[in-house]
Homo-oligomer: 264 residues x 4
């Protein structure tokens, strides 16, 4: 499935403002980026680097006045995400090194406080994929998904208390629950084809059966069309933009994702 | 200053228990490890790897029965930590890439909630080293340092509420305050010569004037004799041991640090 | 200076043939990639990875029949390369770690055999930039640059014996000479605006005065318009394609580089 | 099998001389370093870093006069290296990324010039382990192993011409032959228990059947007791010391490897 996705951000900047952006998807096991475009207006200098987790980041100082960032990407991604009931739990001693830090609590995923709830939710499940699927189903049934309802990240504890949230909030709670069962789980931000209403999206991946699987409690059933932009422990690692100094809210944030025919 | 430091941990294990350890210091800008020893008893297999932040970690499965880990290290470290009043604040656009993630909130350092307090504490300070020194002094005056008073990590918000804590807690609050001023700050765990009572120690580093400086609110004045074992965003990244499964508390945790004469 | 550069490669493949490609430029200190496109025809799976030196590489198995790779990139690069006479030689003890391996001999740059010649060429020069500039001038005067004259890489010793070569050959000899003076030097492949005749290009960088500087003995004077695609010790590290199995020569290899106006 | 290995190097230094050393083994899949000691006399500053291939390196400036380096290590290593006849050749498309650069020619392993010889040597062999074993046997039968016969590295072409060499030379030729068959091969330097006469040693590893296997044409049959210190493409990557400036030969180079009993 070929997708063309774009993101347009407009800001009104008062004083020179440093930004760190994460808006450039990378080819990987699950997607191939055939084309990628990243423009800023005015055309100020942009510096690119790779963070500790392999995400491509950009730094710039937005100048006072109207400032615009526009990115477009053409990506081949799976028609349907892989679903693998009974993919087994991986004993900690057999986990690859690079998954281990995804077992630990992080800023918005206080997994050290969710053992009991996780055990309750997954009571009768075979360890592994089925536990994560039970967590995903529980989130879908229990936490009301209200797109656009949150201004800043809240943590899994707060989400569980509120019983509602945006995509990011559901992912945080899902991650915290997985980790409390010793299942590595990580946050993904990116695009999702046919998301309603269209916006940046967040979901999570859990490591079972020897690989990462996609889970998304905001959707009623597994689908495809995911384009990953950034991976991290939680929203603190994968903000699509961090700006420093007086808070600046985009005046426009417009995401488009459409399917295209692609044969060179 | 040459130090010999050792750590002895004893456990009574009921069922095979996976551990991830961080007990091997590494040579770096501020210390040279001339000798290092790491033993487990019984002599089960240990696997070593380097985490995302460059720390050396070990994995093993502790077998049922008495289990013992003993590490010893001989390190050359500074007689006095560097102190540099007026070392300037580094504008975000000039920070090296590898410091940027230390500006963001993390599990135990909710820097996104401390702007006001940080501004209050550092009101009259020149931006940079002096701000951090003011934070360190405020912690020393405000938060009672009570060694051994905490069983598990609490977050900066909780520490500030409680107004007391162990070394780790003071470091968490210090880090959160620095980050809220856009000063990169990170947690360090390791040994400290002449710490009273002797134990594993935690302190923090802040990036000002183009390098990392050591700060430690548990000590009445800057001293030397620090041996770093692990660096991270907060205690979640740098636990000297993480064990998985039913909680296991060491029956013995004995740290020794003594000065030695060293000439080959 | 904004450039649009493209590379078209066509092959007639007899049996399924593995390729490793290096055709995707990366944003860096000296260039900003605003747009990048990479297509293969037929649209077979491509896997992307980053090599030990930070270059973006692609792997694929070309199927029998006509096979085509087309890449296009839009890059902002310097109007003129930096020139810095008297930039000082960096003593080995002050070189950053990441430059050290560029002091050592490599497959096509036998720097361990060029001390005498290097000392002769740079006899009266101030150590540093001026030595490298003398090497560049010597190459220009001594080794005939004959574009298209070589089918496969030959080594610095062979180039010096032959006294002529393609861009890659001049770079190899330049690198070997620099390293024999303890100046780190590395190979770069990429595009050069207004190269005559247009083709993929190779040049070298030397580390003096605390940074990498561009040198290119194939051009009569320093110019700009360089787009780097890959960095390595020599041509063995930075082939734009390696294929395995029976040798396959492209039936078409067409490079275009044109200047564009760019304002979003 | 527990080994204690030590290396003593003595130099008479005339002018301050930069050294890069690689003398500190690292725990890995095949060995566990329980204790490690690294001393220099006089006790000048040493800086440690990790190179592109994961080896631990040290930098220092040796002062004029007598200068001594002494390292000792206690390592658990295999009693016998793994031998796996018929372990299959791995098709290039299935090789892990990190093995790919070990397919390419390097300074002392001109694999681009050995196709015919390699095909001749391995004519009737099943692709994979058996090809490498045939190469190892051919080296043993054809190239006279003469410890101590070479002052500086020569390349595979030169070794093949000379028909004799030190351990490093046999490894270079073995590596070049493997790579010309599209089998990744790398150089290892380190200690070997019961090597006669005792000295630093070099051997090679080839990637077949999904992992690296040890090969050593200097020994009449596979044994154990290998302690790896450094890995690289060839001797250019893994010199136990590189010194810069006027050549300095150690006045003493003494290696000891003995078996020890180890139970904490």
């Amino acid at each position: 499935m070929w997708l063309r996705a774009s993101c347009l951000l407009k800001f009104e900047i008062e004083i020179p403002t440093p930004f760190i952006l994460m808006l450039r998807p990378k080819s990987g096991a699950q997607q191939w980026v055939a084309r990628d475009e990243f423009n800023v207006k005015p055309a100020i200098p942009v510096e690119e680097f790779t963070d500790d987790y392999g995400n491509i980041c950009q730094r710039l100082i937005a100048p006072p006045g109207n400032f615009e960032i526009k990115t477009t990407t053409t990506v081949k991604t799976a028609e349907f995400v892989n679903v693998e009931p009974y993919a087994p739990f991986v004993e900690i001693q057999h986990l690859p090194h690079y998954t281990l830090s995804y077992l630990l609590p992080s800023r918005y995923c206080e997994s050290d406080r969710f053992s009991e709830l996780a055990r309750f939710i997954t009571a009768d499940q075979v360890p592994g994929y089925n536990q994560v699927a039970a967590i995903e189903a529980w989130l879908r049934d229990t936490i009301s998904y209200i797109p656009g309802s949150s201004d800043y990240p809240i943590s899994a504890i707060e989400v569980n208390y509120k019983q509602s949230g945006v995509c990011r909030d559901l992912a945080h709670l899902g991650i915290a629950l997985c980790r409390s069962l010793s299942i590595p789980a990580r946050m993904v931000v990116g695009y999702l084809y046919e998301l309603e209403p269209m916006d940046m999206h967040a979901w999570f991946e859990a490591y079972v059966g020897g690989r990462w699987y996609t889970f998304d409690a905001t959707q009623s059933k597994p689908k495809g069309g995911y384009v990953a932009i950034g991976y991290g422990h939680d929203a603190a690692d994968v903000a699509i933009y961090n700006q420093f100094g007086p808070s600046v809210i985009p005046t426009v944030q417009k995401i488009k994702v459409k399917q295209i025919k692609k044969d060179l």
